[in-house]
């Protein structure tokens, strides 16, 4: 049978059961469920890139399967291949393209496991709560001392699944519509005086309506933001909100406070830049922005940046990363942040002496942000 294959995953199994380097047969069902999950995510990625289509073409997934080749002797590492049956996979869907979608689906799934491993929110526009329910089967047969490291050689992920992490993922799959605390950045897109409703365009995606009757004090701030909508003016709302399955705000239930955001508000700017696609600079040059990376950067900036410091201007770099810039009377300071690993390179150029100094920061960690804040505090006070 004509087949095109490529090695796809080399997961490592750890635990007493695997010490003899054999894989128990019951775990095969876990990997079959992983295949179903990958198919679902690959279809979603395809549909996101082809908005005119309502369903993914059969040719994307027909004849595609994961196959276990063998368990290496002397190792608990499996070799799982992506197999594309070229008789079933019709010609108009090149196998390279199918492989690309499955590679991307794999990266999304591994990043979701990575987020659960780090006890972070799972952020993916291609994995919804229904997809996470596949983890009822994926990892279901793992015992207390066992784990599957899906990508043991990856520098990008810690895609380790054990019972604890699987439980976290399944908790995230449960849609709870109860109102919860919310910090909402939004612009006020319209006002319907007759119905007493503002329509908010929310940073992070989606629109929602809110009654004008919350409080006279808030009303004036909403109006101020509405009147400056064209300038990009945004407000920050602390309150409670209900969320839909895709974790988008469905309804703002209560408002505790409202404030006008600084025009340089960094999470809002990062959200704007997250829509940048490949070829943005001149049609060919200019890499698209990694949505997961920029979302994580936005969360970490909000959490750890010292808000007593001046806010930077923020721009994309040609290679798809982010550069923040501060200007003072004597210095031009830039911080280039690589989104794949959240490393920051700070370049402090003194316009009087024409000399520069450079510093690097690990912006995954709170310690890295503290160090950045201290350096900026010194640098920007010159």
């Amino acid at each position: 049978m004509p087949e095109q294959t490529s090695i796809f995953i080399s997961p490592r199994l750890t635990g007493k059961r695997f010490n003899d380097h054999l894989m128990p047969l019951d775990l095969l069902e876990d990997f079959a469920a992983l295949e179903d999950l990958l198919l679902s995510v690959a279809k979603k990625i395809y549909l996101a890139e082809h908005p005119a289509r309502k369903i993914a073409p059969k040719s994307l997934t027909d004849g595609v399967s994961l196959k276990l080749e063998k368990v290496d002797e002397g190792s608990a590492i499996l070799k799982i291949w992506l197999v594309i049956n070229t008789l079933l996979n019709v010609p108009q869907q090149p196998t390279e393209l199918t492989t690309t979608y499955f590679e991307r689906a794999k990266n999304e799934v591994f990043a979701a496991i990575d987020a659960a491993y780090k006890n972070e929110t799972i952020v993916s526009e291609f994995i919804d709560k229904d997809d996470l329910l596949h983890f009822r089967k994926v990892g279901n047969r793992l015992r207390e001392d066992e784990a599957i490291d899906f990508s043991p050689n990856s520098e990008n992920y810690t895609a380790i699944l054990d019972r604890r992490i699987r439980h976290r993922i399944l908790e995230a799959s449960v849609h709870n519509n109860d109102p919860r605390d919310a910090k909402i950045r939004a612009s006020v897109a319209s006002l319907n005086k007759e119905k007493g409703i503002f329509t908010l365009s929310i940073v992070g995606g989606g629109n929602t309506e809110i009654s004008t009757a919350f409080s006279p004090a808030f009303y004036n701030l909403f109006i101020e933001s509405f009147e400056r909508y064209e300038t990009g003016q945004k407000i920050l709302i602390f309150g409670t909100a209900k969320y839909n399955k895709a974790n988008k705000i469905e309804e703002i239930v209560s408002v505790q406070s409202v404030s006008i955001l600084d025009p340089l508000d960094v999470p809002s700017r990062l959200w704007e830049l997250s829509s940048i696609k490949n070829g943005w600079l001149d049609g060919e040059i200019g890499s698209g922005i990694n949505k997961r990376g920029i979302s994580k950067l936005s969360d970490l900036f909000d959490l750890h940046f010292d808000h007593s410091l001046p806010l930077p201007h923020v721009y994309p770099t040609v290679d798809g990363n982010i550069q923040a810039e501060w200007s003072t009377d004597t210095s031009e300071v830039s911080l280039e942040i690589t989104l794949s690993d959240l490393r920051g390179l700070l370049h402090d150029y003194n316009v009087s002496s024409k000399e520069y100094t450079e510093f690097t920061f690990d912006l995954h960690s709170e310690a890295g942000w503290n160090s950045l804040n201290q350096t900026l505090s010194t640098t920007l006070s010159h």
Partner: protein, 130 residues
């Protein structure tokens, strides 16, 4: 090229952000003044002797497409020389095309020079905004 010769740089909209000082003022990022990987160390500019800022903007979007320039800033040849950068007119791929050559400098110094150009351009202000 005379020292007073103005060199016009098209600024991509993604390199422009509204400033804190006032809603009408916009900042351009340093990257807009840095050659990218495909520029071979040569920062493309229009020769201000042959185009005014608006003409350069209109010419640029006619060849690159709507939305590829968010405005025009400029530095003079003399200002480039003050930070050890030479400017040349090569008229390629169109008449008036010029470039600021970063190649004579150690690449480690490019960021600093780009920051100097950005600062000089901002002192002059926007020459054209659509």
């Amino acid at each position: 090229m005379d020292n007073d010769n103005l060199l016009l740089r098209q600024i991509h909209p993604n390199f422009i952000q509204g400033s804190k000082a006032s809603v009408g003022a916009f900042e351009a990022g340093t990257i807009a003044f840095t050659p990218n990987a495909s520029d071979n160390g040569q920062l493309s500019v229009y020769n201000g002797e042959k185009y005014d800022a608006q003409q350069s903007f209109e010419h640029y979007i006619s060849i690159k497409g709507e939305g590829k320039s968010g405005g025009v800033m400029g530095v003079t040849n003399g200002e480039c020389l003050s930070v050890s950068l030479q400017a040349e007119e090569d008229n390629n791929p169109y008449d008036g095309h010029s470039y600021v050559d970063f190649n004579a400098l150690d690449p480690k110094l490019w960021k600093g020079c780009a920051k100097e150009l950005k600062r000089l351009a901002h002192e002059r202000g926007w020459l054209h905004r659509p």
